[in-house]
Amino acid sequence: MSNIKIFNVYKYYNGRAVLKNINLDINEGELVVLLGPSGSGKTTLINGIAGIISFENGEVYFNKDLMNNVPIEKRNAALVDQNLLLFPHMTVYSNIAFGLKMRRLDKQIIDKKVKLLIDLMELSGLEKKYPYQLSGGQAQRVAIARALAIEPKVLLLDEPLSKLDKNLRRNMQEFIKELQKKLNITTIMVTHDLEEAFIVADKIALLIDGEIKQYDTPANIYEKPVSKEVAEFFGCSNYIYGKVENGKFISDVGVFDVNVSNCQYATYMFRPEQIILGEKQKNSLKACIIKRQYLGDRVNYIIDINGNKLVCSSNNKNLNIGDIVYISLDFDKAICFFE
């Protein structure tokens, strides 16, 4: 266990930068999720931390130790690949014991540790099974147990749950989160699944086009995105463009009281759930529903206000296209970008 520092990392493939100026500080015992669309450089970064590839520029520290020239087998950074890569010719027991055996530890010590992990990972009874005899969730837990056996300084998980079905995935997310807190092991997990990131992460590093756009807690990254790019990654957003004059935001949608200084171009962003459908009130706006998307637990309504289209999400499923509704916008909770 240790804290991880990644400083000014660059990586190029064929002259194209796939990682640009990556800086990350990860505290001991934290679970950080690297989130980003495919091709954003998440796997490259995690492979670099594990030592599988080297960075052209920048430094990786585990605690205070510079890792750049430490070979893979000496780094003690356990990577769990999305393909798991269990050793097909070895039993569950031998798979978990592998790292310890390679360190030439005493047989009894190995046995004790492996048995402890088998209990912890709920794998009892499977010791003598081969990887091809395991279910997806079991194989997953063996892969993690095998990584944990070497008591790594950092546990690296590269989309470890991407091959599991949805229900199993939820269970494993909980499992990983609890395990990580129980063992207090510094963990970096790669995923492209927003929900997964929110469930497991202490902090999320959002990686787009090889750059970390924001590194923050899940709540902050969702509610206080630093840029439109970040905001848009976390789902559909509504933008209202206008200008601020004397404490009033003037836009096509209407004129609102706001608490910011004058600005020629201001953009307010509302999440669909921040646009509240309700009764006619003092500050509410009249709108017309032009589209309806049924999502099971809620309904997305696309509404029209003075020619502006906004998406709002509501639990009220009884509204139909053409209905007139009243919406209220809370500008104190909205995110404002000045340009």
């Binding site: 030592g51 599988i52 087998e73 356990a78 890569l85 050793f87 010719h89 070895m90 390679m102 070497i150």
Partner: protein
């Protein structure tokens, strides 16, 4: 019986007939033209082979040992070579891939003539060392190519995983790579063994007639036309090769079962 079954039987017969005929021939006594069947059955061929004064069994064992050593050396060279060709990028990689096949494209006689001169200078003509080295050459293209195909198909991710867990390069080879590619190694090894075991001319040239292998004693009988002894020798030849391949497979599996 449908056409498929008939075809299968015809093909099986075509494949097995020469071997059956060889066994039959090795047991035949006098068999003058135009009789369809031999006039008598005789163990003359086998008695000759097993007669200690002919030293044929001793030569057979020597030959087997020689070919096993050749197989071992060839695999030991092919394994890292195939690994490097599969997983490392370096200049001239594609040229090397083509050059590997040179021993197959250029006749072995031409290669051996050239190497003969070098071996004379090194003083290893007429020695086992020289014969072993010359036998390694025709085996390498097969060894590297078979292993290269498997490495390229399999990738090296699982090896990287073992490294991540702290295994050294040797440990990865011993505990991961070799057990996983074992079936391929047995195939490659069998091919290399057979290539070495059947070499006649290059053994003769480098061994200078002093290193006698089984193929070398076989040849004069083919020329002289004593078909009974030739067939008996050939039957032993086939049995020895099959036995060695079978036993090595068993042995290798047993050794690796204890590792895992």
């Amino acid at each position: 019986m449908n056409i498929n079954k008939i075809l299968v039987r015809i093909i099986a017969l075509l494949l097995f007939f020469p071997i059956l005929f060889m066994v039959f021939l090795s047991l035949s006594g006098a068999w003058p033209w135009p009789f369809l069947m031999p006039k008598s059955i005789s163990l003359r061929g086998y008695l000759y082979v097993f007669n200690p004064s002919t030293k044929i069994l001793k030569i057979l064992i020597n030959s087997i040992l020689l070919s096993l050593i050749v197989t071992f050396i060839t695999i030991a060279i092919s394994l890292p070579a195939a690994n490097a060709l599969a997983f490392y990028d370096f200049k001239g990689k594609n040229i090397i891939k083509v050059l590997l096949f040179l021993p197959l494209i250029v006749p072995m006689i031409a290669v051996t003539m050239g190497i003969h001169l070098i071996f004379i200078r090194l003083g290893i003509v007429n020695t086992y060392l020289g014969v072993i080295l010359i036998h390694v050459i025709p085996g390498i293209p097969y060894g590297v190519k078979i292993l290269l195909n498997v490495f390229e198909l399999k990738g090296n991710k699982i090896e990287l995983q073992a490294k991540i867990l702290g295994a050294s390069t040797w440990q990865v080879l011993r505990y991961i790579t070799i057990p996983i590619i074992m079936p391929t190694l047995v195939v490659a090894g069998s091919v290399i063994y057979i290539i070495s075991f059947t070499q006649y001319f290059i053994t003769f040239l480098i061994g200078g007639g002093k290193i006698i292998t089984y193929s070398i004693i076989l040849f004069p009988f083919a020329e002289s036309g004593d078909r009974t002894i030739l067939s008996a020798l050939s039957v032993i030849f086939v049995i020895s090769v099959l036995a060695i391949i079978y036993l090595s497979e068993k042995l290798v599996k047993k050794i690796y079962k204890n590792y895992i």
